[in-house]
Every structure is written in C-alpha cells, then in structure tokens.
Amino acid sequence: MFEARLLQGSLLKKVMEALKELLNEAAWDCSDAGIQLQAMDNSHVSLVSLNLRAEGFDKYRCDRNLSMGMNLGSMSKILKCASNEDIITIKAQDNADTVTFVFESPDQDKVSDYEMKLMNLDQEHLGIPETDYACTIRLPSSEFARICRDLSQFGESMVISCTKEGVRFSATGDIGTGNIKLAQSAKVDKEEEAVVIEMQEPVSLTFACRYLNSFTKATSLSKSVQLSMSPEVPLVVEYKIEDIGHVRYYLAPKIEDEEAA
C-alpha cells in the first residue's frame, strides 16, 4: 500500500508543469524515503530528476517499494481537476495497475477522486556521480527564465560562461548576437534575489536553448535556481522545492565537433 498526502496540492501541480514538457511518461519510484523520478527526454539530451522526500508530505506510507509508470499527460489532466488549495493524496495498492488521486478541499466539503491506469515502463536509470562542480551560480529563477527566453530568439544555442566578473549568457544567430552578463550581487536584501557565483575555475559551455527553456517551466517551484557547471560535464539546473525536495535537470553540453575542428 502506498499513500502520500500533500497538504500543498499546488506543489504537485507545479511539479507536473515542470515535467510534462520534457517527458511524456515517467516512472514514479516510491520508497519509504519518498518519491523519486528520473527520466530522460525523448532525445536523450537532458535528464530530469525529481525528489520528493517523505518528510515533506503530511502523511506518507509506503509498505513496499513501488514504481508507478504514469503517462504524464494523463496525470496532468487529472491534476488540473484539483484546485490550488486542495489537499492531494496519491494512493496505490501494492502491485496494482491503477493509482488514485484524491483531492480534498481545505474545509473537507468536497472530495474528488480520480483513478488513473498505470503503465509498464521499462525505463533505465542513470547513475549520476557525485560531482564537485567548477562553477555554481545561483540566481533568481525568474531572471534565468527571462534570459533563456530572450536569448533563444537569437539562436538555438546558448553559451554560458562563468568568470570571475560574473556569468555571461550569449547567443548568436542570423539576427545578431545577444549577451547578458550578470555580476555577482554585492548586497541584496533577499537571499533569493541575489546572484551568487562560486567559482573554482572559469567555465564556458554551450547548451541548447530549447531544453533550457523547458527547464524554466519549473520556475514557479522555486524563487531561485542553481546552475552547476564543469568543463565537458552536463549542466545541472536545480530548483529546490521548499521543505520537500528538488527537481534537477541535467543537460548535456554541445561540444565542438572534432571533425569540424
């Protein structure tokens, strides 16, 4: 038996928004530690890793490890039936082929439940090694979303360069070149509005804008986003979900073609 009750139902809705653009279907791995999801996008360029800790739920019970393959499009449709204020409970029997979503209004006068068929997904999991990244940039998530949106107009690739002076996002295309440079914030009232750069060595990597734009769908989950880069290593875009976990996106960089070089 699996049951997870989330008081802040809107959180699950936001998570769904953050996932569904990149993934069509994914396996939700439930354990007594919490819910984890790891899936690559169809083109195997990016990887999404979601972690929702058991402590973050109002009620969490997982008798046996369980992997629920879900069609995220269908799940999104069901979650759209829930109000932002609703309490969402996910229920599933052991070895069941369905999952039930229960939406309770805050005053308990409306309870709706939706049953969704599960899928048999044979998804491979990737081992993500612990990496000490050469650069870590923390910036407001809305700022990052804006940068990605703006620069994707210039070209399909974006270069993120991190130096001592700050971080520079640049894109070049037919219409010209766009450069956005963010310097480390000297003094900011709110921590989440700050641009914080931790750098061991300068890094400059090229990434596909379309994936970065998809990552920014998670902007509503967190006020700040953390970018972690190392030379010739996937970029990590991490949105922390308050009190419960995080969603991390890994994006393989574009590497200069050896043949062309």
């Binding site: 195997h44 999991h125 990737l126 081992g127 993500i128 090694p129 690739s157 894109a171 393989a252």
Partner: protein
C-alpha cells in the same frame, strides 16, 4: 457598291435562309455566310424587307431594326421589332442610324435569340469573324495570357451585379459596341440608354477601382488607385476604342478591319482578350456565371500546362466548339443577350478554345488505382451535319502522374516537413562560431 446581279443572288440566299432553312438572318449572319461586307448585308436585308412589303408578306415575317439616336445628350442604341419601330422612333430626339438588323419567319420571342443566329458563323473562324466588319480597331492589342488571366478575375469580381429578371429583354448596341466596348450597359428594350460615350467612359472608369479607395487614408488610396489602374488599364483602352468607334459609326465613317497575321498567330491570346471584354460586358450577370467562368479558367490553365508538357504524347487534338447543347447553355444565353452585334463573332471561339482545354481538365477519377484508371472524359466535336456534339465517356488510361495526396497524406507530409524546418533552423542559427555537436546525456552518465 455591289453588282445588282450579286444583290439579286444575295436576295435569293436570304430568301433561302429565311424560308427554307427557317433561320434568323441578321446582317452579321449574312455577311459572314456570304462573305460580304456588313454594309452590303444591311442593304440586302433592306431590299429584302422592301420586297416583302411590296408582296404584302411582311406580316408573316419579323423584322428587327437596329436604331440609334439621341435622347437628350445620351445616345440610345436599340434593337426594335418592326411593330414597335414607330413608337420607339418617336421617343428619340434625333435618329442617327436606322437599318434592318434581322429578318425571320414567324415571331421573335426574345431578342436574345438573335445572338444564336450569328453564333454558328462566328464559330467557324475566329479570324474571319471580323473580316467583314465595318469597324476596325487598330488599338486593339494582343495581351499575354497571364496578364489577361489576372485582369479578368479582378475585373469581373468588381463588376458583377445581379441581373433583374424583368430585364430579360435586353438589347444590343449598334455596331459600335464591339467586343471591346465593355462599357455597354445592359438594359431592357424600353429602358436602354447609353450615355454620351465620354461620360460613359468616365462613369465606367470611376466604377471600377474608385469604389475601393473611398474612405482610405491618402497614401493607401494612392497605392490602391495605382494597383487598380494597373489592373483596369486594358479594359479602359478597350473602352476608349469603343468610344471612338461609336463616334465613327455615328458619322457613317467606317473602316474595314482586316485580320492581321499576328491575329491568327496569336489566336489564343486574342481569344482571351475577347473573353475579357465579354466578361466585362457580363458585369451585370449573376455570380454563378462568374464562378463558372473562373472555374473554367482555372481548369484551363491547369490543362494548358499539362498539355504543354505532354504535347507530343497527345494522340489527337479535338477541335471543339462551344458545348451549346450542354451545360454551357445558361452562360451562352446570357452572352447572347449581352453581346454586341459586331464583336460577339469572336466569342464562340474562345469558348471552344477553353473547352478544348477544359476537356482535358474535366476529368473525374472514379477509381483510386493510380496506375490504370477509368476516367470520365468530356469530349465535344462537330459531327457530319455540323452540329456540336458533347459526349461524356469513360476512357481507360494509364497515369504516370502521382495521384494527388489525400488530406491525411498531406498532413503526414506536413508533419514530416516540420522537423525539417527545425533542422534547417538549427543550421541557420549556430550560436557559437565553431560547429558544435549535441552530446547525449547517456555519454556522461552510466546506466545503472
């Protein structure tokens, strides 16, 4: 002037046409049939009518007069039955011209029938149909197909107005209104009024493009005007010519127009030019007719393109004449009503030309087999008796052409194209200066 013996022979011919063949003999018909100048044809008809009157047989015949005169400042050109001639002449302030237009046995129900009488002759040869004409039109130029095609569609759209049913009795204008005199308005016998040529021209020109430009901002109006002028120009020229011809005919000065070699060489183009003017005249016709024409035109274009490519492979060229017996009936009737006496001679030919192409184009595929299919083909040809016969028959033919894709296939193709554009875009916007290759995430992380 013709030899009296010739005139007698011609009179015999007229007698034969009218009595033996029960034909409506217009002066155009006579001119074409006997190869005489229109003026001589008119004289012969005049003589014939006089003889009928002498024999007091005129009541058995219907004589239609062509009458032109002034009502105030306006010129009126009327086709009047002999019974109404006196009344109508009284209505005119000044008579410019009066001559016999047609003679026939029995009663003429509608003046539109007069057109049919000329039709057969006109069909025979587009080049010859104006050879006996009293009007020459040196300014008439052969227009390229493409130009005409674009002009036709736009002009017709602007000028189409519904025809009132009570105006069924329509009249033709005098000789002055040749095919290019597109300005001629269509009126009933009693109401027909052609204004002073210059005024009419002004009116016509103001009708075409000006309507659209009204209320536009200055610069927009300017450009719209320019566009409209560009479109309407050919018609305007025609109108000018028509106006000049009206003047000439009024003064009794007529120039015999001889068909040039160019005309015969560029038959197709000529045909379209005539069609343009015809359409312009049909401006008061109902929309369905217009649609029919434009559709036909489209199919014509397609067919022409196809015929160009497969010219060598074509087994035979079927010379066609208008399918007056079949679907074209309505259209033709309207043409009859609206056509002017001189230039309509050229009308049937374009139709036949069109049909020739339409014949190729109006192919319906009952079966889906792309390789060998039976097609419903419309064929029109002239039989031994000189009648145009239109036949629809199935022909088995092998097609090398790729069948037109179904909507589903099209969608698939579209969906296929979309990623292509993406990849094109990707090549278009390489952000970094050097070529970069997107790595897969699996090359960085090992599978568990």
């Amino acid at each position: 002037m013709a030899d009296p013996s010739d005139v007698d022979k011609l009179l015999e011919n007229v007698e034969q046409f009218v009595n033996d063949e029960n034909k409506i003999v217009t002066y155009e018909f006579l001119s074409q049939n006997c190869g005489i100048h229109v003026n001589l044809a008119k004289t012969v008809l005049e003589r014939y009518v006089e003889e009928l009157k002498k024999k007091k047989k005129d009541l058995l015949y219907q004589v239609v007069y062509s009458l032109a005169g002034y009502v105030g400042k306006n010129i009126r050109c009327l086709l009047v039955k002999d019974t109404n001639l006196k009344e109508t002449t009284l209505k005119l302030d000044k008579i410019i011209s009066l001559h016999v237009y047609s003679v026939q046995k029995g009663k003429l129900d509608t003046l539109s029938l007069l057109y049919n009488s000329n039709l057969t002759e006109f069909k025979k040869s587009i080049q010859q149909c104006c050879s006996q004409s009293g009007i020459s039109c040196p300014a008439a130029k052969l227009k390229p197909h493409a130009e005409l095609a674009t002009n036709n569609t736009t002009e017709i759209k602007k000028n189409v107005e519904p025809v009132k049913p009570e105006h069924a009795m329509l009249k033709k204008e005098e000789e002055s209104l040749d095919a290019s005199s597109s300005k001629s308005s269509i009126h009933s016998e009693s109401h027909l009024t052609i204004q002073d040529p210059l005024k009419a021209k002004e009116k016509a020109s103001s009708k075409l493009p000006a309507k659209k430009t009204v209320g536009k901002p200055a610069i927009a109006a300017f450009f719209a005007n320019q566009q409209a002028i560009g479109r309407v120009n050919p018609v305007k020229e025609e109108k000018k010519e028509a106006v000049e011809e009206i003047k000439k005919s009024v003064n009794g000065k007529r120039v015999v127009r001889e068909p040039s070699d160019d005309e015969s060489e560029n038959k197709d183009i000529n045909v379209d030019a005539i069609k343009t003017s015809k359409r312009f005249k049909l401006s008061e016709e109902a929309k369905p007719v217009k649609l029919h024409e434009t559709k036909a035109k489209k199919t014509v274009r397609k067919a022409k393109q196809a015929s160009k490519t497969s010219e060598k492979t074509q087994r035979k060229r079927i010379q066609q004449f208008s399918d007056s017996e079949s679907s074209g009936d309505d259209e033709e009737e309207q043409d009859i009503v609206l056509s002017s006496p001189e230039m309509p001679a050229q009308m049937p030919a374009p139709m036949s030309e069109d049909e020739d192409d339409v014949l190729n184009a109006t192919v319906t595929e009952p079966s889906n087999n792309p390789k060998r299919s039976r097609k419903l083909v419309t064929k029109a040809y002239m039989d031994k008796d000189g009648f145009v016969v239109t036949k629809r028959e199935y022909e088995t033919c092998e097609e090398k052409e790729i069948p037109e894709p179904t909507p589903e296939v099209k969608e698939k193709e579209k969906s296929k194209e979309i990623p292509k554009t993406d990849t094109q875009a990707s090549t278009k916007h390489p952000s970094p200066p050097g070529k970069t290759k997107q790595k897969s995430i699996t090359s960085f992380f090992t599978r568990k």
